[in-house]
Symmetry: C2
Subunit: 348 residues, 2 copies
């Protein structure tokens, strides 16, 4: 678990630590990665971008400062990190991860718990994108999750998919359960709403919901351009434009598109204040899955109570067994998903 | 939903609003309550108490200031509120709540969305307890949940139970599902850990878990005095002392007491930093239910991912149909629960 890398405060796990020890010497169960690229969490990059009014140099300086101070890339405001790709430099003899030196890998655990040193001053990054070219090293622990990058896919494409692969896996699992229960009781088709349906985790979640047997799906997007892109991708039965922060607008849009509130609502947008709308958009007995790191626990808990809404609310766990394979499979099989990802990468 | 009571910002639901309009004139679907007592949320009171170094006068002044400024009692730091008891003063002709003037009721929705005016300057409160004697009025909306106070129980006792009645209801529901699945597959008994087992929501959750068919339960408490009280109450098969903020200590204590990690872990302590320990204490395929308003969404999500823990994490929804009746029934039927509640009220 990497407890020996925690510098302060003592006794917490690496993710909760203020500062980690990123020294390059590895323990027998650790792996050292030569880093080539960081992929900052969207909420984290957005906060830095807004704080510095879009000044890329200032964003870069703050990322360098955070990593130098904390020994990891964890945004102090959002609490979130991101992930990285690189090459295995040295693998301890007792590491259970099975990596060999020279393999190109992506980490699937958050940067918030990954010891990291940056050695190039981020000279190849303009501070204007979540994708950060980078030289330096990072340490993986025994229980860290990482994947060898597939050879048939562009590494940046793989990285973008792996970054959010927990979302389609958990969405698929939740929708499958409703489909099975509904089939046993002979009820109506299962309905699914994905808020932020044109984004990375959103488009994968729509594809996963359909594959899991959802009868009708709706993607909610904030602007017309995203609506057009998601309609063209063909991943949802309906696409609607609504401000997810407006509870009445969001719930009305979802309910109109599905003909009823959603059995499962998946929140994939990285803006605060979507909790109440998601709850209102969901049927009694339904489930809301929150994947956005901008989610407020108190707003969700008190909002559902205040609305007397009998909904199950899940904290989106980024880890589900088999999540990387599932997400990469969706990318390969669904041209609509692949198109959205490639357009997004091209725009970055 | 009370949208017409929202003053700022416009368009949000009352719980998310900065300020509500608490004017006494009611709409046809509203109810006005003459308030006699507020019960502040534990996390909120604790924050105020610590901020003011235990100065009761300063705590009282800040509560008055919050209510005067916001038109509701919502702690700006914790985001949480509490509940109230009072007497129905006027019920709109289209209110679906079914109350008559003169009935003594407790609100089961949070104070964070309840328009409130205090008229006595809280002169009967010393600022040193969560229980706040109070004169003033409050407004209930059409979908607000409130219960007529049972005549066979002390009102303060009922209030204390109703304040946390979502926890035993959701715990019972989750444990029942594991028990049913385990019975169908012929597996081992279901194990349950309740962190903060000697508290209000914790003791009710332990009783609910046992009633739902849990095979073995453990209550985790922070100090020896609570251990002795919970052992005497007889609500758990094992009681252990551990610091819930120390992930290794918590998971070791739970795993030792149960002989394995818990199938269901319920977090009922109002201190930050318990997320990782709860995840570590839970078996793969298990569920963590977070009832503490001190829970960090990001810490839970990233913690589980970082530990590669395949656990389902639930945001504790304070509303489950039938929750008030279930909790009051547990209080009546379980002398151990009643004893803990009465001792806690006596100590307040």
């Amino acid at each position: 678990m990497g407890l020996h890398r925690v510098v302060e405060p003592a006794g917490v796990l690496p993710q909760a630590a203020w500062r980690l020890d990123p020294r390059p010497e590895i323990a027998p169960n650790e792996v050292r990665i030569r880093v080539e690229r960081l992929n900052l969490d969207a909420a984290s990059f957005r906060q830095l971008w807004e704080k510095h009014d879009g000044d890329g140099d200032a964003v870069r300086a703050e990322v360098l400062e955070i990593v130098a101070t904390r020994g990891k890339m964890q945004n102090p405001v959002t609490g979130s990190g991101g992930m990285l790709i690189g090459t295995v430099e040295e693998a301890g003899r007792r590491s259970p991860l099975g990596f060999k030196p020279g393999e190109r890998v992506a980490t699937l655990v958050s940067l918030t718990l990954t010891p990291l040193v940056i050695t190039d001053g981020l000279s190849g990054w303009d501070g204007r994108s979540e994708q950060v070219p980078c030289d330096g090293w990072a340490i993986l622990f025994a229980r860290s999750i990482a994947a060898v990058l597939p050879e048939d896919l562009d590494p940046q494409l793989s990285l973008a998919v792996l970054d959010v692969c927990g979302a389609p896996a958990l969405t698929g699992r939740v929708v499958s359960r409703y489909v099975a229960e509904r089939a046993a009781r002979g009820g109506a088709p299962v309905t699914v709403a994905v808020v932020g349906g044109a984004g990375k985790s959103g488009s994968l979640s729509l594809a996963a919901a359909r594959r899991a047997g959802a009868g009708r799906t709706v993607g909610v997007v904030p602007v017309a351009a995203e609506r057009d892109a998601l309609v063209a991708a063909g991943l949802a039965d309906a696409v609607v434009v609504a401000d997810a922060r407006d509870p009445v607008a969001l719930s009305t849009a979802v309910t109109s598109a599905l003909g009823m509130p959603a059995d499962v609502t998946v929140v994939c947008v990285d803006v605060p204040g979507c909790e109440h709308g998601a709850v209102l958009a969901t049927a009694d007995g339904g489930t809301v899955v929150f994947f956005s790191m901008a989610t407020s626990f108190a707003a969700a808990a008190l909002g559902a109570e205040g609305l007397a809404a009998d909904v199950t609310m899940l904290v989106g766990n980024g880890y589900v067994p088999g999540h990387a394979e599932l997400a990469l499979g969706l990318l390969r099989d669904e041209p609509g998903v692949r198109g959205l990802f490639e357009a997004r990468l091209a725009a970055d």
